[in-house]
Each structure stands twice: as structure tokens, then as C-alpha cells.
């Protein structure tokens, strides 16, 4: 441990010491070099993280031949919208997109309502059995999703909702993490307002609906973002709950494109155009709510 440096270090160390004032010129040059280096590193990493997406957009406007010969350039040799024309006019892509929108809207709306309802009950209603319900939720969060593929198929099949919107949507409404977020939120706001409402004779649901819920807007937005992203990007659940082309969602459809089930040759512009298009909605939500996303994730996982 270096808590007690020798006097030698104190004199010659490049670290700021109490004598900051006198050493300023020398230190500021070192500082400048350090800062430039920092920005250089950051810029390189940013290129690595963002570059692939730029390449994919650029490639989606290239011709097949151009994409193969020049995979790196960000400007197509000849601009071609063939990939997009084919996707929209000559493929099931519009159906996939519509299905994704339908599922995402219902799942998100459902989760917002059910999560806040359950979260409120767990945070505020002191009911018999609350601890058991809470322990159950924690246990549920521990079950890895992939393990549930076969089990979920069995039940969906048994219930007769295989290959229906119901089978696609209802199982996705389950969201223990969302209940947690809402519960944490409700615990963080003062209960005096609602107590007043209850004393005034408002029923529990009425109190919840017209007094508590409007106050919970920030947390609700968090749930909307998480549900939107989760259901839009979901793949495995749709693999096991549907088979008909009419009910194919974007993730499943684009995955089938990728494995070449519909196309001859590589057709990278087509695949990358599809991938780029399916990224747009999450990207839009991401940029709209950037601040909130960046800050909410630390609340999602509490230590």
C-alpha cells in the first residue's frame, strides 16, 4: 500500500502534491499530453463501437458486388436502394414489422399496468402473504430464460394458444424485474398523499389509479423503455410459440434471412438493410430517452 510515500516520492513524483502552485507549467504540459492521449483512446474505442453500425447502413445501399469487393467503405460506389425495394415490395418484411409492432405495443401496455399494480401492492398494501409473494418473485428472477423454452412451448401447446397472438403476447407479460422497479419506486415516494385520499374514503384501486399512478411517471417511462426494448428484440419466445409465416416477427424473420433460407448467394445488402431497419425503432427510443436509460439501469439491478 502506498499510503505512506517516502519523502523521495513526495519530491520527485509526478503526482500533484501540496506544492501544486509552483509546479504548474511543467504539470500542465504533462496534463495536456495525458488529455490528448485520453481523447485519442476514447476516439478509437468509439470508432470500434459505432463503426460497425455505420458500415451496415452504408452496405445496405451498395450493390451485392460492391458489398463483396469493398466491405469497409462508408460510401457506396453506386447508390442502390435495391435492397430496400426488395424488402418492402417483394418479401414478408412488412408483415414481420407489423407483427413486431402489435406484439410490442400489447406487451408494453400490459407490463406497465401489471407491473405497477403488483409493485404498488408489494410496496404499500400490508397484506397477509405479501412476504410469500415477494419471495416467489425473487425465486422467479433466478430462473434462466433459455431453460424455459421447452416448458413454455408445452404449456402454450396445452392451452391451445400455439401460433396465436395470445401465445405470443401473454407469456411475455411476465416481468418480475419490472415489478421490482415499480416496488422500489413506490417505496421511495411519501405515502402521506394517498393516506389522505384513503381517509377521505377513496377505494384502494381509485387511490392507486388517480393519485399514485400519475406520480409514478418517471418509473413508468423506465418500464416502457425496458419492455419496448425487451419485446422488440425478443427471439426465442417467438421461435417456440409460432410457426406460421403470418405470425412471424422481425427477429425471427431476419434470422431466417440470415441463415439464407430465402435467398440465393450472400445478399448482404438485403440482410443488412433488414437489420438496420429493425434497429431503427429501438435506436429512436434510445435517443429519445437517453438520459433516463443511462441512469435507470443502476436502479434495475440493486446491490
Amino acid at each position: 500500500m502506498s499510503t505512506t510515500p517516502t519523502s523521495d516520492e513526495r519530491l520527485h513524483g509526478a503526482v500533484p502534491t501540496k506544492t501544486t502552485e509552483e509546479k504548474l507549467p511543467q504539470r500542465s504540459r504533462a496534463f495536456l499530453t495525458g488529455t490528448s492521449l485520453l481523447y485519442a483512446i476514447l476516439a478509437v474505442i468509439a470508432v470500434i463501437y459505432i463503426g460497425p453500425f455505420l458500415i451496415s447502413i452504408a452496405t445496405s445501399f451498395k450493390t451485392d458486388a460492391n458489398a463483396a469487393t469493398d466491405p469497409l467503405s462508408l460510401i457506396p460506389q453506386t447508390w442502390s436502394t435495391a435492397a430496400y425495394t426488395k424488402l418492402f415490395l417483394n418479401s414478408d418484411f412488412p408483415t414481420w414489422f407489423t407483427n413486431s409492432v402489435i406484439v410490442t405495443v400489447f406487451v408494453t401496455a400490459g407490463r406497465v399496468f401489471l407491473n405497477s399494480l403488483a409493485g404498488y401492492a408489494l410496496a404499500r398494501l400490508d397484506f397477509r402473504g405479501r412476504n410469500i409473494v415477494f419471495a416467489g418473485l425473487i425465486a422467479v428472477m433466478a430462473v434462466p430464460g433459455v431453460v424455459l423454452l421447452i416448458p413454455k412451448f408445452l404449456v402454450i401447446n396445452q392451452l391451445g394458444i400455439y401460433d396465436t397472438y395470445a401465445g405470443m403476447i401473454i407469456p411475455l407479460l411476465m416481468d418480475a424485474a419490472g415489478v421490482f422497479i415499480m416496488k422500489n419506486f413506490f417505496e421511495s415516494i411519501p405515502s402521506s398523499v394517498e393516506e389522505q385520499a384513503r381517509i377521505d374514503g377513496a377505494g384502494t384501486f381509485r387511490t392507486f389509479w388517480s393519485i399514485v399512478l400519475p406520480m409514478a411517471r418517471p418509473a413508468l417511462i423506465t418500464i416502457v423503455i425496458l419492455s419496448f426494448q425487451g419485446s422488440w428484440n425478443e427471439l426465442s419466445h417467438f421461435i417456440i410459440s409460432t410457426q406460421s409465416p403470418d405470425l412471424t416477427v422481425l427477429t425471427k424473420g431476419v434470422a431466417s434471412l440470415a441463415s439464407g433460407q430465402l435467398s440465393q448467394g450472400t445478399q448482404y445488402p438485403l440482410k443488412l438493410a433488414a437489420a438496420a431497419l429493425m434497429t431503427i425503432p429501438v435506436a429512436v427510443v434510445f435517443f429519445l430517452f437517453q438520459k433516463r436509460i443511462m441512469n435507470s439501469s443502476d436502479g434495475a439491478i440493486k446491490e
Binding site: 499510503t3 463501437y49 397484506f127 421447452i150 412451448f153 396445452q158 421511495s188 434497429t279
Partner: protein, 369 residues
């Protein structure tokens, strides 16, 4: 904004011991929808699958009909001691995924800490931009990223082009089944393992093959996993860094610690709880590789990207070996639980670090922005 979710919970109305009957009814009514869905699509299914894993159901009709027989532990035995293809495939999938976990978890944790420390400086222009850039891959779907990866890591793709500038002849990533460790050993002229490694089998696979390392194809997926998840975990580390008290850091600097020392001896020990969270989430996530394999390679080349999750899916849905598929899922579940508990033992908070925290003070007020 963080106030929303990180504020300490107000003490629950624990004072009154008696439950109000009105609250009991409302409480159960409010939680009922969630409980019904959880029961119907989680508890019941797990029970059904458990039965299927002990049966010879072939996917036709109901698994509870009278012509489905109870076969005891047979499905599990086939996997761990069957001596056939089922055992070898299962062994191969475990090998592939184990290498994936071993490489992805530490690297993504280190990268996440590195990124968080870089962008957490108080005087940094474009802090928001860099955070956004690093986090963006995390919000996109695994399908879209896999499609992108297939293109970037193609034989004549962008990655090989860049490697070409550096004078390196890149491999044909997703077509290359050779193990990375074997390739490195091969570079030193070792192409054949010692007989005790080649002749000893574990789960139908010679030990020498267990040590092959991830295949080149799997390595591309490993890079992808680091690319897509490091941003998420970076956010967790940023949140943790912002909760550290600056005074300790200052004290260390005043005492003469250089940047590296103050990070290693002062910052990192305080990040221990977050490291624990990130490693736990990492292990849980990396044992469930499915989307990428389904979209990209379907287990190939040479079964080197086969994972237990994907094998479970294909066994059931494609080969109609439902019992085996369910058995694989439960073994995978056991593996994940085992590693989570193991980690809890190894990485759990020691009294020492709790003392550290007490000395170094609690979360700084208002640091969370």
C-alpha cells in the same frame, strides 16, 4: 433521475402488526394477474418439462397421455454416460460454452471497468457522446448484431480487410472449426497431444479436445458478446463510481499514490460489490447462448459453436427427442445455479471489504446527479 430507483426505501409501515382486511383483499387482487401469468408460464411449465425429461414423449399428442412412458433417469444417463452421439454432442456443447464463459466474463468485466473509468472523469468533453457510443450496441437486438457480424467477419469482410492493412491474413472466421489453443500450440510445432490427454475421454470427448480452446468461429461470437454487453456493465460501474466518495481518492493522491495505485488500491476494492454483480450476471448470461447460434451458425462449423441451450432446442424441436431436450435444459439450469453459488462463495464480501467501506465512507450525497 437516479433518485427514482436508488433512494433508500422508506421504512415500511411495520409498526402495525395487524393486516387490514381491506388491504389483504386488494393486495391479492393487485398481484393476482402477475401471479397467474407467472404460475401459468413459469411454475406449471417447469413442472411439465420435469415430467417430460423423465419420459419418452416424442412430441405427438399430450405428454400426459397414457402411451407416454416413464423412463426414469434414462434421458439424463444418455447425456452423461450414454456413450453415444447424444453424450458426445452434449460434451461438445459444454466444452464450447465453457470456453465462451471463461473468456467473455473476465474480458467484458475488465473492458466495462476500463470504459467506465475513462468516461467518468469530471473534466471530459463529450462525456455523453462517448457513453452513448459505448452503450448503443447493448440496445440493439442480438439478431441484427449477428447479421452484422456475419458480414464483418466474412472471409472477405471488413475485419479481414483491416487485418490485411496490418499485414495479417485473416481466417475465414465463421467457417473455421479449428480451436484457438490448438492453433497456438500448432504454431510451436505441437500438433498432437500427449496420449494421456488423447486417450482419456470425458463426456465422449478426449481431454485433448476439451483443451482445444474456442474455435475461430466461436471466437467471433466471443468478440461479439464483449462488444454488446460491455456497455451495459459500463453503466453499472459508472453508477458505482459516482457513489464513491471523492475524499478517499483525494486523500490517496495527497499521500502520493499515482493514478494506477489509487485505482488499484483505492477505487477497485470499493467496486467489489459491483464486480460481484457484473460477474454473476455475466456468468448467468453467457451460459445461455442461443440467439446468436440460431441466427448465425446453427452450431457449425464442425459443431464448434453448438451450445447446451441450442442443443436443447434442436433435440426437442428438430429431432423430436423431447425428453433429452428437457433433460439438457435442466442440466443447464443446474450448471447455472452451481456457478452462481460457487461465485457467491469465492467472491462474496469479506469482512475486510466491509471495513474498507466503513472507513472510506458511504455514498457521497448528490453524486448520483
Amino acid at each position: 433521475m437516479t433518485a427514482v430507483t436508488t433512494m433508500p426505501p422508506t421504512p415500511a409501515p411495520a409498526a402495525k402488526k395487524k393486516h387490514r382486511p381491506r388491504d389483504t383483499i386488494a393486495g391479492w387482487l393487485f398481484t393476482a394477474p402477475m401471479l397467474v401469468i407467472l404460475g401459468l408460464f413459469l411454475v406449471v411449465p417447469v413442472g411439465m418439462a420435469l415430467w417430460v425429461s423423465f419420459s419418452d414423449w416424442t412430441g405427438r399428442g399430450s405428454p400426459f397421455s397414457s402411451n407416454v412412458a416413464f423412463v426414469g433417469m434414462n434421458n439424463y444417463k444418455d447425456l452423461v454416460a450414454g456413450g453415444g452421439l447424444a453424450e458426445r454432442d452434449f460434451g461438445t456443447s459444454l466444452r464450447n460454452n465453457a470456453w465462451y464463459v471463461v473468456l467473455v466474463v473476465p474480458i467484458q468485466t475488465i473492458v466495462a471497468i476500463f470504459l467506465a473509468v475513462l468516461v467518468n472523469r469530471k473534466v471530459l468533453k463529450g462525456r455523453g457522446f462517448f457513453r452513448t457510443a459505448f452503450y448503443f450496441p447493448s440496445v440493439t437486438s442480438s439478431v441484427a448484431i449477428t447479421v452484422l457480424w456475419l458480414f464483418l467477419f466474412g472471409a472477405t469482410g471488413a475485419v479481414n480487410k483491416v487485418l490485411g492493412f496490418l499485414g495479417i491474413h485473416g481466417p475465414n472466421w465463421f467457417q473455421d472449426p479449428s480451436g484457438v489453443v490448438h492453433n497456438i500450440l500448432g504454431a510451436f510445432g505441437i500438433t498432437q497431444g500427449p496420449t494421456f490427454l488423447t486417450d482419456t475421454n470425458m463426456l465422449g470427448l478426449p481431454l485433448w479436445d476439451w483443451l482445444a480452446g474456442p474455435s475461430v468461429a466461436m471466437s467471433a461470437f466471443i468478440i461479439m458478446a464483449i462488444f454488446t454487453t460491455s456497455g451495459t456493465f459500463m453503466l453499472l460501474f459508472i453508477a458505482a463510481l459516482q457513489n464513491l466518495s471523492g475524499e478517499v481518492q483525494e486523500a490517496a493522491v495527497i499521500d502520493g499514490a499515482n493514478g494506477w495505485q489509487s485505482f488499484w488500491y483505492v477505487t477497485l476494492p470499493q467496486l467489489r460489490p459491483t464486480v460481484f454483480t457484473v460477474v454473476t450476471l455475466g456468468v448467468i448470461g453467457t451460459w445461455q447462448v442461443f440467439d446468436q447460434i440460431y441466427t448465425g451458425t446453427q452450431g457449425g462449423p464442425g459443431k464448434t459453436t453448438l451450445t447446451p441451450a441450442y442443443l436443447s432446442y434442436t433435440s426437442a424441436f428438430q429431432s423430436q427427442e423431447w425428453g433429452r431436450g428437457a433433460a439438457i435444459a435442466f442440466v443447464l439450469f443446474a450448471i447455472i445455479v452451481f456457478f452462481t453459488l460457487l461465485q457467491r462463495l469465492v467472491l462474496r464480501e469479506r469482512p475486510l471489504s466491509r471495513r474498507h467501506r466503513r472507513i472510506y465512507g458511504g455514498p457521497a450525497k448528490g453524486a448520483g446527479k
